[in-house]
């Protein structure tokens, strides 16, 4: 019955109570939303590359290797020689190997030389394959496949010619060899979206008339002559490797790291991603902090509402006292009301969150390549909700204790 009375009392003050509940609901939705985005971002980040057991490159740092080979950030300091690449490819543990050759760009996007195996082997978001939205993978030397962002930003369609520039942000363009877009990939939310992919041989073809990073003056080899040439690369930037059995990963990693002929580095993508996330992850702490403050603000708002309602409710408390309620019943009633408000707010916040997610999920995915999963609340989220309710009960103790004192002084007679 006390519960019903508390509920009735809340209903009687529907407007202010509703506003308070709304504030709590919004803050809870924000907090959980930030949590979702955070875990979604973390998962998306970890999902940037999957299915690959090792990333191999010239010896540097694991994060650096990950950054340039997967995220196309920064540059390799040195390359992986073709001989070493062949050596690794020939090892018995290796199931598949995909070379990556970087260093050229098209407008603001990086050009990556690889083999068509890349499209089968590169997986993201726990094993999802890259899919072609339009066209086909490279079949000709001068074919390119572009990522979704490249197509969207530059307005390209299958069949459009494009020119690849040597080096990054370079003004000297490889005008001699116009490439043609053969395929456009679907959005993946990974750096692949922002990459122009060509064959490994095409990378060599671009550089036929170049030496030491500069164009040989007056030399221009026609495209059909280039087609006849032996376009064996001297080196690649990195390689993605898949092993036959999970247990062989560490053996192969050690073998590559101890490779005598050339200083090489093999990293486990998952481990390197973790290392990188530890650097990026500072922002997430800040986000949680800010949204936590919003929840606290909402709770303080609730405390203020309860405080301001105390005076007009002294008569109500006097009735309770006259009927034999102890002052601590009054205290309990106010704490119960606050907990009820917080509980309704928490549930409403959860509703807001899921409605918001349902609306935002496709938008966020297409705009940022961030996949926000709509799952049942996790144990952690349920804990957050319970913590909000508990915190509101604690916060409400402040006005409740005042009510306790007032009801002790007033007894059953209120003179207002």
């Amino acid at each position: 019955m006390i519960f019903r009375l508390a509920f009735g009392s809340l209903m009687a003050r529907a407007l202010t109570v509703g506003m308070t509940i709304l504030a709590i609901a919004l803050s809870v939705a924000l907090f959980l939303g930030v949590e979702k985005v955070r875990t979604g971002a973390k998962a998306s980040f970890a999902d940037t590359i999957s299915g690959t057991d090792l990333i191999v490159g010239a010896r540097s740092g694991s994060v650096q290797l990950l950054l340039y080979s997967v995220f196309r950030i920064g540059n390799a300091t040195s390359n992986l020689s073709w001989e070493s690449y062949q050596d690794i490819a020939a090892r018995s543990e290796v199931d598949w190997i995909v070379p990556i050759s970087l260093g050229d760009s098209h407008r603001q996007f990086r050009v990556m030389g690889t083999t068509t195996a890349f499209f089968d082997r590169y997986k993201y978001r726990s094993g999802q394959s890259i899919k072609l939205k339009d066209g086909a993978v490279m079949s000709d030397l001068f074919d390119t496949v572009i990522g979704a962002d490249v197509a969207a930003t530059l307005g390209y369609r299958v069949g459009d010619p494009i020119v690849v520039a040597h080096g990054l942000a370079s003004f000297t363009e490889h005008e001699d060899q116009p490439f043609r877009i053969s395929g456009i990939l679907e959005k993946t939310g990974t750096p692949v979206d922002r990459t122009v992919m060509v064959s490994l041989e095409a990378i060599e073809a671009i550089h036929v008339d170049w030496k030491s990073g500069a164009k040989i003056p007056g030399k221009s080899t026609p495209a059909d002559v280039i087609r006849q040439m032996e376009l064996q690369p001297q080196a690649v930037t990195a390689a993605l490797v898949g092993v036959k059995g999970r247990l062989q990963v560490f053996g192969l990693q050690r073998a590559i790291n101890e490779y005598k002929q050339e200083p090489l580095l093999a990293v486990l993508p998952g481990v390197a991603l973790q290392e990188l996330w530890q650097i990026v992850g500072i922002a997430e702490t800040a986000l949680i902090g800010v949204s936590g403050m919003v929840v606290i603000t909402a709770l303080i708002g609730m405390m203020a509402t309860i405080f301001s309602s105390l005076n007009e409710r002294r008569r109500e408390m006097a009735i309770f006292r006259a009927m034999g309620a102890r002052p601590r019943v009054i205290l309990g009633l106010l704490v119960l009301e606050a907990s009820l408000m917080a509980a309704i707010g928490a549930v409403l916040g959860l509703v807001f969150l899921y409605v918001g997610l349902a609306i935002a999920q496709p938008l966020v995915d297409s705009a940022f390549g961030l996949w926000l999963p709509i799952d049942a609340p996790t144990a952690r989220e349920v804990c957050v909700l319970l913590a909000v309710i508990a915190a509101s009960a604690i916060v409400s103790l402040v006005p409740a204790l005042r009510a306790y004192r007032l009801s002790l002084v007033d007894g059953m007679m209120v003179k207002i």
Binding site: M1, M323, A325, R326
Partner: protein, 233 residues
Amino acid sequence: MFEEASILKLKDVRYSWPGRFSFGLTVPEFDLTSGETVLLLGESGSGKSTLLSLICGTVSAQFGMVSVSGTDIASLSAGERDRFRAEQIGLIFQQFNLLPYASVLDNILLPLDFAPERRSRVNTPKEEAKQLCQDLGLPRDVIDARAGTLSVGQQQRVATARALIGQPPLIIADEPTSALDAATQTTFLKLLFAQSKAHSTTLLMVSHDARLADQFDRVVQMSDISQVERQSA
């Protein structure tokens, strides 16, 4: 030392309010016999409210004895006094008696929540509340209405039903009619008397209105039983 029939007994009670203005009330002797109806007359400021608070145990006398149904309430802890009040006394106030947001039924049953013994005397709470409403001239279905939607006269009857439920031995009514118009007053008092007779409860009514006197077994002037000391600090 108590007579069997004594429901309320005050002896040598002295009480002064804490605070800047010292206000003291002394009641050398005041008794109520079980089953009688007593009108306590006093002007405002005569210490009526303080006397009621003393009887109900929301304040405790510094000296003397207040006993209700043979129990010296000074011997009880504050929490026990609250429960004792719920068990022994049905209260009706001048107005604003009810929780406006709660249903009439919840209002009537409210004291039972704090008085287990009184509750145990009520077998079918909803039925008994309905019966009381009917006896007090309220429609039976008023029970589901929100108390705040009732007229003042109806609210006072609901408050009376609440005071009567579970048959507490003592009913204290503090100016219950002063918010009512003359016609409603008369009806209300008739019903109140009839019901307190029917439930054989003692009725102590506090008022400043001497015109009501002839309807009571006994009339007591506040000034005859108590002295008020007042000093400005």
